[in-house]
Symmetry: C2
Subunit: 129 residues, 2 copies
């Protein structure tokens, strides 16, 4: 398993996602303080995908450097606020989710002996599952 | 700015993404050890989006519990290997990217005085930007 590649790709996804969250935050702010700019940025964001934040920012650089500056500031700030908590949150999310599926698998294994030993107990031989 | 909401949503995205990377890893392994299963899992993954890893796993539970078990093990392992490095990687990725745009903005500000003071220097009045 290539952990280094996975780490690099995951970091890139995370950077793109925090940029998306920064744009979303700015859209919220603008829709209260400057609705016209909010509409403009919303339209721009529909035309330029935030899946790749670097292409998005490069395109925005041509039209509105001030908004690029604002997005940079906000994503820096968001990174500062949330990054340190993520490893623990994700680890515990995965643990909880895995526990949920393991319990389901255990339950099904213990509740449907009919799958393994056919007709061993005629009262419970329903073929569901 | 609602940092708690952003942290929760980002953790969810990260959990989904690590599940996707786990499936990708398993597909690579299966295509060497068990091509038929690899084809089956690839088709299943085309029919069920990994954007929401929980729906994906729930659907897979109905068909192949063994593969759910395998995905759980691999994503747990991936989380263990990469999560701790992510905050620093993303912070430094954002810093580098921001530096790049700030330099560009500075360069343009200093290289195109013609925008602000028209014809102040006739030798340099090209209107490129």
């Amino acid at each position: 398993m290539n952990s280094k590649r996975v780490a690099q790709e995951t970091a890139k996804v995370l950077q793109d996602y925090l940029t998306y969250q920064a744009v979303r935050t700015i859209l919220d702010q603008l829709s209260e303080t400057n609705p016209t700019q909010a509409i403009w940025l919303r339209q721009f964001s529909q035309q330029h995908s935030l899946q790749d934040s670097e292409s998005y920012l490069n395109a925005l650089m041509v039209e509105r450097k001030d908004l690029v500056m604002r997005i940079m500031t906000v994503r820096e700030d968001l990174a500062e606020r949330v990054l340190e908590f993520l490893p623990e949150m994700v680890r515990s999310g995965i643990d909880q989710s895995n526990l949920h599926y393991r319990c389901q698998i255990l339950e099904r294994l213990t509740q449907t002996p009919s799958e393994n030993i056919e007709n061993s107990n005629p009262d419970e031989t329903d073929s569901s599952e």
